[in-house]
């Protein structure tokens, strides 16, 4: 069982996303550590990309800030090494495929393994194209975490069966971002996915209030929150540790 799956053992998992290097890597390092202390069970680290087609404005702007501060995959790997000196919280990369291809699949996943990354989410790598990456992610022991969407229908089963680490259930149509209401019939997606998946199910996209987290945690194994955290970082910059920690604590407490 992977370290990621273990993180779901203590109950419902709170999964926190932030863009690495926003506003700089030193802040990211501090935030990962602080969020872990405040109740985050897994942290997703976004590798900033010039053209993140699955992101809404909040994370797009975070990517712009992170790239402006000179963030590169190699600098992120160095930061992960520093994090690993004091924290063993499971870490998952969220990245578009091109930076990984450019780095070289073999070299990238070897480096992930070396520094202590546990999993990877690639939003522009659907089930049909996963093989070219999976060959290398599995060779180096990195969980390849797939997504299912409200439109997946007949695809849910095969995607869920292929999932490693956890299955990322996209709550709504559209891009990432805060939503006041989740309208998708998550129950039916989750019941189909649960049957096929050998890993826990975590729901993301749009979740930002403790009420939403409480509701989702009743039907899923984990809750993923990104834009709401990134928004706090956008507001507070390098001194985000306190407000982010408070927010994470509040969300975690709301989950059963």
């Amino acid at each position: 069982m992977s370290k990621i799956q273990n993180a779901f053992k203590k109950g419902k998992a709170f999964i926190a996303f932030l863009t690495a290097g926003d506003p700089d890597l030193q802040t990211t390092e501090e935030l990962v550590f602080e969020m872990g202390k405040s109740g985050a069970d897994i942290v997703e680290l976004g590798i900033p990309f010039s053209d993140p087609i699955a992101e809404g404005p909040v994370i797009q702007e975070a990517d712009v800030r992170a790239l402006a501060s000179g963030t590169t995959p190699d600098k992120i790997f160095e930061m992960v090494e520093r994090i690993r000196e004091k924290s063993q919280i499971p870490l998952v990369f969220l990245t578009y495929i091109n930076p990984v291809l450019k780095y070289g699949y073999d070299a990238f996943f070897a480096k992930c393994n070396e520094v202590g990354i546990d999993g990877i989410i690639i939003p522009d790598l659907p089930y049909e194209e996963r093989k070219e990456v999976h060959e290398f992610s599995s060779k180096h022991g990195i969980d390849l975490i797939p997504l299912v969407a409200p439109t997946s229908e007949d695809r849910i089963k095969k995607i869920a069966a292929s999932a490693e680490g956890y299955l990322y259930v996209v709550s709504s149509l559209g891009v990432t971002g805060i939503r006041s209401e989740i309208k998708t019939d998550l129950d039916s997606i989750i019941s189909v996915a649960k049957e096929a998946a050998k890993v826990p199910l975590a729901v993301g996209f749009g979740i930002n209030t403790p009420e939403q987290a409480a509701k989702i945690s009743k039907i899923a194994d984990g809750v993923i929150v990104g834009s709401a955290i990134v928004k706090i970082i956008a507001q507070h910059g390098k001194i985000s540790a306190k407000p982010v920690s408070e927010y994470v604590k509040k969300m975690k407490e709301a989950m059963i």
Partner: protein, 394 residues
């Protein structure tokens, strides 16, 4: 290799939310392209609305002036809405309608594809929204108003470099948000499969006509077919039926902007590297970390950091050649064509004319070349004037 490949290129690298939709699109397209009613309806629109077949015009004065092979222009600029874009748009909007869609969305750079899409949507009774980089909406105000006249809503995209690549990204984001009633009319031979195939098929009418026309006029195949390449739809359409004729050189002209030795260009084959972006594996202008590079060209329609996957493959196997052409060369060709033949062609197409000027003098008079004039140049007059230091009032 997975479906929709051209050699190693192509594929379907898009968010899961869209996967069922593009599979549905592929199935619908493969079905309707064989259905007699669909084919005759599209042929009717192309012939009676868009003005096909387009002329293959023998440019006698230019041929004499260059002193080499005979120069023929495939006059896509004479199509309704002023460019080759209408060929693809009529096909896709008709297909979308058959699929039960009520709304179409599209990206546009210079506005040619957006205008064509808004036109087809008006004709076929579909709701239409166009995404255009904010910088482009300012450069091409006239086309924005034209699209609005046609009943489309135009969204100015403020993310990234505010140009064509950002318009594509934003249209994809819109499609992910609203897919049930909406078809994305992709404007070039790019994006995830099946788009490169669909757009190529709809544009291949260019080479189907051109081949018959040149055989009728010259009694033999041309020595070369030359077209400009951004994403590559007019070039793919111009090349397609000549691919099997190995004696015909296929030449794509990329935008070299201020020169490929500078960082102000959009020359994907000359300067790009293998990458995956906007749903496809192909060549892209990018930095050493895989970030997509901001590109530049005087031509908004060629101002794109990638190239369609079938072109990438034709390059890999050596069947087509891709050459860079600078702003300066394109502007000179724009002016030359206007003066010599009385044709104001799009600055995009002028890139192809510029390269033809270089090679035609070295080809024997017994040979011919076909240059695709993909669009008309009215939209470019103001920016050419500016390039020459003449400020026309807005």
């Amino acid at each position: 290799m997975t479906t929709g490949r051209f050699g190693i290129h192509g594929g379907q690298y898009i968010p899961e939310t869209l996967m069922n939709e593009i599979k549905h699109l592929e199935k619908a397209y493969l079905h309707y392209k064989e259905v007699k009613d669909f084919k005759s309806e599209l042929a009717y629109l192309l012939n009676n609305y868009a003005g096909r077949p387009s002329l293959l015009y023998y440019a006698e004065k230019i041929s004499r002036d260059l002193g080499g092979a005979k120069v023929y222009f495939k006059r896509e600029d004479l199509n309704h809405t002023g460019s080759h874009k209408i060929n693809n748009v009529l096909g896709q909007v008709l297909l979308a309608k058959k699929m039960g869609k009520t709304r179409v969305i599209a990206e546009t750079g210079a506005g040619q594809h957006g205008v064509a899409c808004a036109t087809a949507a008006a004709l076929l009774g579909m709701e239409c929204e166009i995404f255009m980089g904010k910088e482009d909406t300012e450069r091409q105000k006239l086309n924005v108003y034209r699209m609005e006249l046609l009943g489309a809503k135009v969204n100015a995209v403020e993310s990234g470099t505010q140009t064509l690549k950002d318009a594509v990204s934003e249209t994809m984001r819109e499609w992910v948000s609203r897919v049930a009633d909406t078809h994305y009319v992709l404007g070039s031979v790019m994006g995830p499969h099946p788009f490169p195939m669909i757009v190529r098929d709809f544009q291949s009418v260019i080479s189907r006509e051109a081949k018959a026309q040149i055989l009728e006029k010259e009694g033999k195949l041309p020595a070369a077919v030359i077209a400009c390449v951004g994403g590559g739809s007019n070039a793919m359409g111009s090349f397609y039926h000549f691919i099997e004729d190995k004696s015909v050189k296929l030449i794509g002209c990329e935008a070299a902007g201020l020169g490929i030795e500078t960082d102000k260009h959009a020359a994907t084959i000359a300067k790009g590297a293998i990458g995956i972006f906007h749903g496809m594996k192909s060549y892209f202008c990018q930095n050493s970390e895989g970030q997509i590079a901001p590109v530049y060209s005087i031509s908004a329609g060629l101002d794109y950091p990638g190239i369609g996957p079938e072109h990438a493959h034709l390059h890999d196997i050596g069947r087509a050649e891709y050459v860079p052409v600078t702003d300066e060369e394109a502007v000179l060709a724009f002016e030359y064509l206007a003066r010599t033949e009385g044709i104001i062609a799009a600055i995009e197409s002028s890139h192809a004319v510029a390269y033809a000027k270089k090679i035609v003098p070295n080809l024997p008079k017994t040979e011919s070349v076909i240059i695709c004039l993909s669009g008309r140049g009215d939209k470019d007059v103001a920016s050419i004037a500016k390039y020459r230091g003449v400020n026309l009032h807005e």
